[in-house]
């Protein structure tokens, strides 16, 4: 990336801690409805992290009702993110956890990693 583009990067959102794949996180997003602002929580497992300045993002997967998986991608530097809470570190061997998409129920769990 050119130096000029680097210089234009937004500051990292300080309320987002260091994330890694397999973490169970709850993401608090600011949502605007008319002129009212409220905070929505999205809780799930981080299945992907992408790095690249302003384009950095992470994808969170959660199981909704009826065993339907919901994935949501957040921009890491977005000011819309109120805060991210890491609740649990999962023990995983790869960076992209796409295999979680085929898993439901008991097999969709990850072992906890204690550090």
């Amino acid at each position: 990336m050119s130096n000029i583009l680097k210089a234009l990067e937004a500051k990292p959102n300080e309320k987002i801690p260091q994330l890694s794949s397999g973490d169970t996180v709850s993401v608090h997003v600011k949502i605007k409805e008319g002129d009212r602002e409220r905070i929505q929580e999205f809780k799930g497992i981080v299945i992907r992290l992408r790095k690249g300045g302003n384009d950095s993002c992470f994808t969170v997967r959660r199981m909704a009702s009826n065993g339907v998986g919901v994935e949501r991608t957040f921009l890491l530097r977005s000011p819309r993110i109120d805060k991210v809470v890491v609740e649990r570190h999962g023990k995983v061997r790869r960076a992209q956890l796409y295999f979680m998409r085929e898993r439901t129920g008991k097999s969709a769990r990850l072992k906890q990693k204690f550090d």
């Binding site: 050119s2 583009l5 990067e9």
Partner: protein, 210 residues
């Protein structure tokens, strides 16, 4: 004031506005440009301003080019381009920068030379649909099909869309919004994509659709 600038495409990125909405933005290093010539209705038959961009070592230019710039002690400039303008109030030697030419939120047309695609087939070049991938098709999936009728007219009409060289054309993208303006570093942020490769020469003009 003249609404026009010459620039160099830096690349694309995302920026956030106050609401936190992310916009795709092309960053252009635009100006500073110098007025190298003013064309008038009396003398040339039309009104326009010639701008110069990108300072280079004087050795890089030919004697004729240097002589053209020498009149008002303008630095040696690599590129010269003309912009039509009726009332601009500019004189030779004046400096045109990002803030004098444009304002934040303004709509502009952006011109560049598109990336070369080489010898391209009809699907890429003219958006043909191609043929079936199955049902017995072999080696014809991306073929153009028929070129025309039979004995009447007995020839292919001129202008039929065929495979051929694609890209390296002058392309204009109209009605793009300026979402970032950096006077210090001479940068323009334009919402959306802009024709041409990184480092390509870009012309920015006032939008026609207003």
């Amino acid at each position: 004031m003249l609404k026009g600038l010459i620039g160099k495409k830096i690349g694309m990125t995302q920026i956030f506005d106050e609401q936190g909405v992310a916009y795709p933005v092309t960053i252009i290093e635009a100006g500073p440009c110098y007025v190298t010539q003013v064309r008038t209705t009396e003398k040339e038959g039309y009104s326009a301003v010639q701008l110069g961009f990108a300072e280079v070592h004087p050795k890089r230019l030919t004697g004729g080019q240097l002589g053209h710039l020498k009149v008002k002690e303008i630095p040696a400039l690599r590129y010269l381009r003309e912009f039509r303008a009726k009332e601009h109030g500019l004189n030779v030697g004046d400096k045109v920068t990002v803030d004098t030419a444009f304002t934040l939120g303004e709509r502009v047309d952006v011109m560049g030379v598109s990336k070369g695609k080489g010898f391209a087939g009809v699907i890429k070049r003219h958006h043909f649909n191609g043929m079936n991938a199955t049902h017995g098709t072999s080696d014809r999936e991306r073929a153009p099909g028929s070129n025309g009728s039979g004995t009447t007219p007995g020839r292919v009409y001129k202008g039929a869309r065929r495979a051929g060289h694609m890209g390296v054309d002058r392309v204009t993208t109209q009605n793009l919004k300026i979402v970032m303006l950096d006077v210090e570093r001479n940068l323009l942020g334009i919402n959306g994509a802009v024709p041409g490769p990184k480092g390509g020469l870009i012309l920015i003009k006032e939008s026609r659709k207003q």
